[in-house]
């Protein structure tokens, strides 16, 4: 109930914005609603297609492009294809991230996405790329957190990165568990700036916290 009221408040607050462009918000809302049903590469591709379509109409809005890039990053994780194919998805994400940084250079979420993108590049070939892309990913998180200390996705990615590196170097990743639990406990208190603002990450965080127990 509390969540519904919260959402309602948020929605009402954004009504002014929506009134200027109801179709944009409606389409974004519809498309975002389909995120949870996406499982396969094809699912995310058609979802990405929708965001691309919206991005092409709303050239001044950064969020469609943000989700478009996000879909392609997820595709690189899901697809069991060869490295070249994964890289071709990430080439799409790279271009969009670059454009996003140009559009909204002070938006913390964009750097969190950039960090996510770098991690995806790393995962394609950890042995060759581990060193370079873990550094780049860390730097992007640093930027995201500098712009907004409360950015949940940046915090999540930081915990994930720290745990991964602890595991790699034979240290105890569970030292980061309290941080993860803390972030999860406060996750729902976060108020997105608008109903279409990024909120993803809770599932990943939940599985991290579950893994801690």
């Amino acid at each position: 109930m509390k969540r519904i009221i919260l959402s309602l408040t948020v929605v009402l607050c954004s009504l002014a914005a929506m009134a200027q462009n109801p179709q944009f918000f409606r389409s974004m809302g519809e498309t975002l609603g389909q995120y949870s049903t996406c499982k396969s590469v094809a699912d995310f591709q058609s979802l990405g297609n929708k965001f691309q379509m919206i991005a092409n109409v709303e050239k001044n809005e950064w969020l469609p492009l943000y989700y478009y890039a996000h879909c392609y990053i997820l595709m690189s994780f899901i697809d069991q294809a060869d490295a070249a194919k994964k890289d071709s998805y990430l080439d799409v994400a790279e271009k969009s991230v670059e454009k996003l940084i140009e559009m909204v250079p002070t938006e913390s979420e964009v750097y969190a996405l950039q960090s996510f993108y770098y991690t995806a590049r790393l995962v394609v070939n950890p042995v060759e790329r581990g060193h370079k892309f873990s550094r780049l990913s860390n730097q992007a998180i640093g930027k995201a957190l500098k712009l907004d200390m409360t950015n949940q996705r940046a915090q999540l990615l930081k915990i994930q990165g720290d745990m991964g590196s602890a595991r790699f170097f034979g240290k105890d990743p569970n030292t980061f568990c309290p941080q993860a639990a803390d972030l999860l406990a406060n996750w729902d208190n976060f108020k997105p700036k608008s109903p279409i603002y990024p909120v993803w990450g809770k599932d990943q965080l939940e599985s991290i916290v579950k893994g801690c127990q």
Binding site: R3, I4, L6, S7, L8, V11, P22, Q23, F25, R26, S27, G29, E30, L32, G33, Y35, S36, A42, Q45, S46, N49, K50, Q52, M53, I54, N56, V57, D82, A83, A84, D87, S88, Y89, V92, N125, V127, E128, R129, K132, S134, R135, L136, N138, Q139, I141, G142, K143, L145, K146, S165, F168, F169, G170, P195, V199
Partner: protein, 721 residues
């Protein structure tokens, strides 16, 4: 829950169904295969849909009048189709074509090994340079595990496809490095001057290269230095043979790195057994500065300068003095500078300006001989690249090589001072044409004029590649390659002409799922090589360009990092058939540096639990020939085969601390590189000879690399870009 709520909320707005047009159809690609996941939508509208698994789509729109239907798919040409919406049904079948993309298109691989940091379609990566056993951190050492090369332990330099080591040139960021190797004593192995960590990419061309590169009969090694560093850092390297400290500072759009390296083999040679008696083991110091500055949106300026000093004294046997040992004293001073600017002029025209300066002097004292030699070289180069279309690119430019070489020799017969200066002006142009993403042709010409030799040469170059399937292709290359005769000849005369080699290369490459096979056949026709009359170098009047020769062979390369989990191996084999009649050869014969069979098997394994990369490198070269003056057959004597098993181990202790250990020739195979003979026979009519042995049977290195950054402080993390 929230999403659902928002969704419901929005749905109330969408009850506006009036007259609707239904647009449906099927999207296919290339030969008519169904394309799933293509994006089909109306321009500037929210109406659209993705195609299903059979390529079909169908959606409604309430728009009316003229509209543009867009069909897009990653990696394919976007289609824009005008349609008229009249409230009825539109059925469309559209075929879309794969977008031409140079990244995915066929590349010319004849003779070329390329290493970058992003693409997969490469055979050798920069990491390989550091982690291949036997390379021991030497750029040239790493290349000696590739086909077309051989390991000549008495030299350490690159010998490519039947070419001598001086037939290869090294370029850094487009400009020539006149003295790429450390100075060394005759018959002892040397290393490259540059740290492989400086480079982000490497193109090693073993023949048939672009018209942009001249003055090399056999091969060019193109090294490109790292771009902008990402953060302030201090790098410390401690090795069993020396130490290096490098500090990097960043500013807005720029960075500077200063480094100092000190190497001294004395402590190492005190422990490890050596085949030679060192009076002053090799000791060297190098200071280097490198600067990066971004200019404008696309431009990048890079500058590198280094000053190095080295000294060594080793006892060497003199076959002309009954094999007595004399001190061989070598002191070297090297100053090198290299600058480059890359950027765009306007929208399309790309320009690269590169310049290098080398000042190198060697002082040699041996027995009664004292030789001081000096090379002063500059290279200026300007290249323009203009893409008329995605498929047609024209490259053109010019360069000026200037070189002065002088030698002051104090020998028992007196003082001899000789020097020469040569200015070589060259222009080149090259067109790169893609007929499709499957077929590429590169045609170029190079014209060079040497003032010292008073000669003008034109070299045509052509290469082409054709993609047979998605994973395999073949390429061809043909060209004329010119190079000035050796400095040691030019010192005494300018009545010589450039030497020439014609290359014919056929190459097949197939890469499937992290497995690469490469087969290359080649033939090199050497012409106009310098002949020195009857064995004597000091009679320039007998010099001519009447030498000739050939080299032909087969290179095989197989790399697989799929079959063994966490394992990666490659096998490189080269077969070489070559003969020459040049320099002081009395007849056509196999040259000393050529071995018929060369094999390298490299295996690397990543032990994730130990965070260690372990590498093994087994090398074999069949016996090479050398000349025994006691035998009637010229170059008829055979050396031992070269065999070596090299091991290396890299251990990632912390994110910023790496331990490294390596041993070359772990099994202690006996290697010997022929014999050196006296100029005159002894009283019994025999020419006394001395075996040429490697510096030591095994070589060990241990090292620790530490990188310090200001981590943990978020404010320091954003310095990138």
């Amino acid at each position: 829950m929230k999403r659902l709520f928002i969704y419901l909320f929005f749905c109330t707005f969408s009850l506006n169904a009036f007259s609707q047009t239904v647009i449906s159809g099927k999207i296919t690609h290339d030969q008519g295969e169904a394309l799933a996941g293509a994006n089909v939508y109306l321009q500037d509208s929210y109406d659209g849909v993705s195609t299903n698994e059979s390529g079909a789509f169908s959606f409604k729109t309430s728009k009316t009048g003229d509209a543009v239907l867009i069909v897009g798919y990653i990696g394919y040409e976007q289609i824009m189709r005008k349609i008229e919406l009249k409230g009825d049904t539109i059925h469309l079948n559209i075929n879309i074509k794969e977008k031409f993309n140079q990244m995915n298109a066929v590349t010319i691989t004849a003779g070329t090994f390329e290493a970058g940091d992003k693409r997969q379609a490469i055979t050798i990566t920069p990491l390989d340079m550091m982690t291949t056993a036997g390379a021991v951190g030497d750029v040239y050492g790493a290349l000696q595990s590739l086909p077309g090369t051989s390991t000549n332990g008495e030299s350490g330099r690159l010998f490519v496809k039947g070419g001598d080591s001086n037939e290869s040139q090294t370029y850094i960021d487009g400009s020539l490095v006149y003295v790429p190797y450390n100075s060394s004593v005759p018959n002892l192995s040397t290393r490259g001057r540059f740290n492989p960590f400086m480079f982000k990419g490497t193109i090693f061309s073993t023949g048939g290269y672009s018209a942009e590169y001249g003055q090399a009969l056999s091969s060019v090694l193109l090294l490109s230095t790292n771009d902008m560093p990402t953060e302030d850092q201090l790098d410390l390297s401690l090795l069993s043979v020396g130490a290096e400290v490098a500090d990097t500072k960043l500013w807005k759009n720029g960075a500077i790195t200063g480094s100092f390296t000190y190497n001294n083999l004395a402590p190492y040679m005190g422990i490890a057994p050596q085949n030679y008696d060192w009076v002053h083991p090799p000791e060297s110091g190098t200071g280097a500065i490198s600067i990066r500055q971004k200019t404008g949106k696309t431009g990048m300026f890079k500058f590198y300068t280094s000053m190095a000093k080295s000294e060594l004294i080793v006892k060497q046997a003199n076959p002309n003095a009954d094999g007595d040992l004399f001190n061989y004293n070598l002191a070297n001073d090297n100053y090198f500078m290299n600058g480059t600017w890359n950027g765009k002029i306007g929208e399309k025209l790309a320009m690269n300006i590169a310049a290098s300066f080398t000042h190198n002097s060697d002082c040699i004292r041996y027995d009664t001989v004292s030789v001081d030699q000096k090379t002063v070289g500059t290279h200026l180069k300007n290249v323009f690249t203009y893409p008329f279309t995605e498929k047609f690119t024209l490259k053109f430019g010019g360069e000026l090589f200037s070189k002065t070489y002088s030698q002051n020799a104090l020998i028992p017969s007196g003082i001899h001072f000789n020097s020469f200066s040569n200015h070589e002006l060259s222009v080149f142009t090259e067109a790169q044409i893609y007929a499709s993403s499957k077929f590429i042709t590169r045609i170029g010409t190079r014209i060079e004029n040497s003032d010292y030799l008073n000669s003008l040469k034109i070299s045509p170059r052509i290469s082409a590649a054709y993609k047979l399937t998605d994973n395999s292709q073949f390429s061809l290359a043909y060209g004329w390659f010119y190079q000035n005769p050796l400095d040691d000849f030019l010192l005494y005369t300018h009545h010589l002409n450039l030497e020439r080699a014609d290359h014919y290369i056929f190459s097949y490459q197939s890469s499937i799922n992290k497995r690469t096979l490469r087969v290359e056949l080649y033939y090199k026709d050497y012409k106009d090589l310098v002949k020195t009359g009857n064995g004597a170098i000091y009679f320039p009047s007998t010099y001519s360009n009447l030498g000739y020769g050939y080299a032909g062979g087969l290179d095989l390369f197989w790399r697989d990092n799929k079959t063994i989990k966490n394992g990666d191996y490659w096998i490189s084999y080269s077969y070489l058939d070559t003969k020459r009649n040049y320099e002081n050869f009395p007849k056509e014969a196999v040259p000393t540096f050529a071995s018929r069979h060369n094999l390298a098997i490299v295996y690397k394994h990543w032990f994730s639990g130990l965070r260690s990369l372990v590498s093994l490198n087994l090398k074999y070269s069949s016996p090479r020939v050398y000349n025994d003056p006691n035998s009637p057959v010229f170059n008829g004597a055979k050396m031992l085969p070269y065999r070596s098993l090299d091991l290396s181990w890299s251990f990632l202790y912390r994110k910023n601390v790496i331990f490294y250990g390596a041993v070359t020739n772990a099994l202690g195979f006996k290697n010997e590189f022929g014999r050196q003979y006296a100029n005159t026979p002894d009283s019994g009519g025999n020419y006394p000879g001395i075996a040429i042995t490697p510096q030591s049977n095994r070589f060990y290195v241990i090292a620790c690399f530490i990188t310090l950054t200001k981590k943990g402080n978020a404010n320091q993390l954003d310095k990138i870009n």
